[in-house]
């Protein structure tokens, strides 16, 4: 059933209020500024193929890997000229949404 909750602090415009948190408030996802050097999956799916290796130099627009989801093969491409830093997925791996796939860095 529905359990009772403790009182906690909530700050609204400088005022500090004692109150309970709702379940949805507690489970909210805190926002993070996007890091352009980290490529996350935008849909859950399967890694069909990986075309690059760490330390490899890659040009903008080159395909890094194939992510199959909803029967579509999505090409994940390099957003700028740069280098592969680390690859966090393996071929045939099934990954969830918002999963870190590849770390990259721009050309100096």
């Amino acid at each position: 059933m529905f359990e009772k909750k403790e009182l906690r602090e909530l700050v609204i415009q400088g005022g500090v209020y004692m109150t309970q948190y709702s379940r949805k408030f507690e489970e909210r996802v805190s926002w993070e500024a996007p890091d352009e050097n980290k490529l996350y999956s935008f849909i859950p799916g399967t890694i069909i193929d990986i075309f690059v290796k760490p330390k490899q130099k890659v040009k903008e627009g080159e395909t890094l890997l194939l992510l199959e989801a909803m029967k579509m093969q999505n090409q994940v491409r390099m957003p700028f000229d740069g280098e592969i830093v680390q690859i966090h997925v393996k071929k045939n791996e099934v990954i969830p949404n918002r999963f870190l796939m590849i770390e990259i860095k721009p050309k100096k």
Partner: protein, 514 residues
Amino acid sequence: MSLRSNVLDLRKRRKEVQMGGGEKAMEKQAKMGKLNARERILALLDKNSFHEYDLFVEHSAKDFGMESKVLHGDGVIIGTGTIDGKPICIFAQDFTVEGGSLGLAHARKITKIMDHALKMRVPLIGINDSGGARIQEGVNSLAGYGEIFFRNTLASGVIPQISVILGPCAGGAVYSPALTDFVFVVENISKMFITGPSVIKSVLGEEISMEELGGARVHAEITGNAHFYATTEQECFEQIKTLISYIPRSNSKKAMPYPIKAPLKGKKIEEIVPVDPRIPYDMRDVIKTLTDSSEFFEVMEHFAPNIIIGFGRLDGETTGFVANQPMVLAGVLDCDSSDKAARFIRYCDAFNIPIVTLEDLPGYLPGVDQEHAGVIRHGAKILYAYSEATVPKVTVILRKAYGGGYIAMNSRHLRADFVFAWPTAEIAVMGPEGAANIIFRKEIAEAENPEEMRQQKIKEYKEKFANPYVAASQGYIDEVIEPKETRSRILHAMKVSENKSVYLPSKKHGIPPF
């Protein structure tokens, strides 16, 4: 054949059809902890009041072996009856017959009783317990759903529509309940979703149980699809009966008045609300000091609990209450609470139920998640709903009424009929802390002891602006009242508003931000 043998034949036929999907299927239904469709109707309606129609309706599908299948009542029971003597129309899907699947004949029975309900101006109750579309009937099954949704929409705001989810209700089928006014769910029995766990797993790789995906608690607490949550079917039926007691049978009637009763003697209203605006209390306790017999029938208790909505009676008359709940998230407005309150306000307005608003909120909930979830368009719903409502509207400001929250909570500016404020009310553009930080930023920064200066400025602001008298001097509130006068003031305000008559500009319909 004699008349007697004819009658006996009729009885035999009736009995056979009333066995639904047969003994085995009935046993299976009972094993799942569920009543069957007929038992449910009888448990909900007044004794001996149920009258059934279309008992002998049969399907005429010819494909996929359907031609040889006999489906009793085509998997749904329809009829009329009374609850506490008030007439209603009802349908109940029978899961024991082909999983309660919806085919053309099944849908025609439902739309027939819907048409009756709308024509006779009586409430419609639908009990949903169905595996979904009857695949063998193809597009006819889809047509059936569409005809139901269309009627739900036509009847919306004309007759009360109540959906009771007592089994699965999946895929397109969920949109009928979603279009109705009130949805009832029962723990471990109700399941509602568009896409089931198995499809989600195969397509997206996400594993989740049916209960976690679309169980009763999820819809009562997370999605806001359900308005009433019960742990047993019997409790659910009691909730429906209570709801029926509060609402009118159609939009051309007022709810039936009950004998006038004083609130129970308990904690006094002024003892419930702490003077310090940062200390919480349970707003329900305040409502119960105002309503007849201290009875309050809360709607959507578990969803967006930072705002409270529900029905009570004032001098015997049904009244809708909308109140900030300082006990949860300090009573802020956010996406969900705005959505919740706005729909309730529109319900009350459609069915001639006056609204009492109890206000104590520090403003809107800050956060990226709120902004990105569309707190602007969701928050606008509450402004729209209050502005548009022409039923009597009375507001009482208990403590905080800051900024946009002040405007949104049925302020004079949205055409509240009466606005009262307690002497503890703080009606201001923002709370003293925030205001002092902005207005006296320079003084505070340049002071020898900034914190001391800040506290002093907060105090100054509080004395000057965080009170009801600035708003009272402008006539934005009609009277500053003692807390103990609250009930008598509201009662009088409602009494003199009985014949309220307001005309909005004529239009086809407005375009609310939904």
